[in-house]
């Protein structure tokens, strides 16, 4: 199915943890947060929250900043 991750469309089937394992090589990386549809999904829910067609996902971490 088609979802949007950090502004780019991609095909994904499975949970948030599956997505992170694919993209970040870690299903539960430290220092990372995820929002789906503008709502933060707590880390504890990543293994069971399945992504569905049309979901808009943001994956963020800390960077140097003012």
């Amino acid at each position: 199915m088609s979802i949007t991750v950090n502004g780019e469309t991609e095909t994904h089937r499975g949970t948030i943890a599956d997505l992170l394992a694919t993209r970040l090589a870690d299903p539960c990386p430290r220092g990372v947060a995820v929002a789906v549809g503008g709502v933060v999904v707590p880390r504890a829910d990543w293994p069971r929250r399945r992504l569905v067609e049309g979901d808009v996902v943001e994956v963020v971490t800390a960077v140097q900043g003012g």
Binding site: P29, V32, A33, G38, V60, T61, A62, V63, Q64, G66
Partner: protein, 254 residues
Amino acid sequence: MTPLTIAGRALSSRLLLGTGGLPSLALLEPVLAAAEPGLVTVSVRRTSSTRDGGLLSVLRRYGVPVLPNTAGCLSAREAVLTAELAREALETDWVKLEVVGDEASLLPDAVGLLDAADQLVRRGFTVLPYTTDDPVLARRLADVGCAAVMPLGSPIGSGLGVLNPHAIETVRAAVAVPVVLDAGVGTASDAALAMELGCDAVLVATAITRADDPVAMAGALRLAVAAGHAARGAGRIPRRSTARASSPMSGRIS
């Protein structure tokens, strides 16, 4: 130096450090060692790798509290979501709230800022808003529950110093919460002046990170903040329009 307390947390220093603009992450640790900051700000951005470049591991190793910001947010909605993401990623409910009106001036959007501050306080955040040097807005931010207010001395990254010292003094007088001068510091004397005007702390990023020698400037800013704070406590002499001799006038030879 008496420690500054914000929202019940005593900070180890009145110099707060922004990490943006360092030419290399390798400089962060020596800059931290020279600045000895009480808080360090970071931003939150999209990531496509687990590597944050080691930023968080350096900060954890150094043991300095991290203050995520909402830099770059142009609306209350973006700022609230960014703060929520930062709380989840960094396990802190402290946030340096920035809602700017446009990307050219980077000046705070007063309407969006107050809206976002109110929402975040209600959601349990400890909110430190980057604001204009307007005592009325500062009071409104304190009224909705902000833990401190952070007026700008001059535009972000400009190095123009404290352009309106009187306004900073009026902000100081307008609120009971700590006042942190944020933005505009160009060199040590700017930070000392902010402290002499009654600010409780100074947040510095560009003046340190883009100095020719960031480590040396970090040390200079640490001393300047301490000196300005001590001078404020000591009570400066009133300004006079005429001279007043410090040597005795009596007993002079003729």
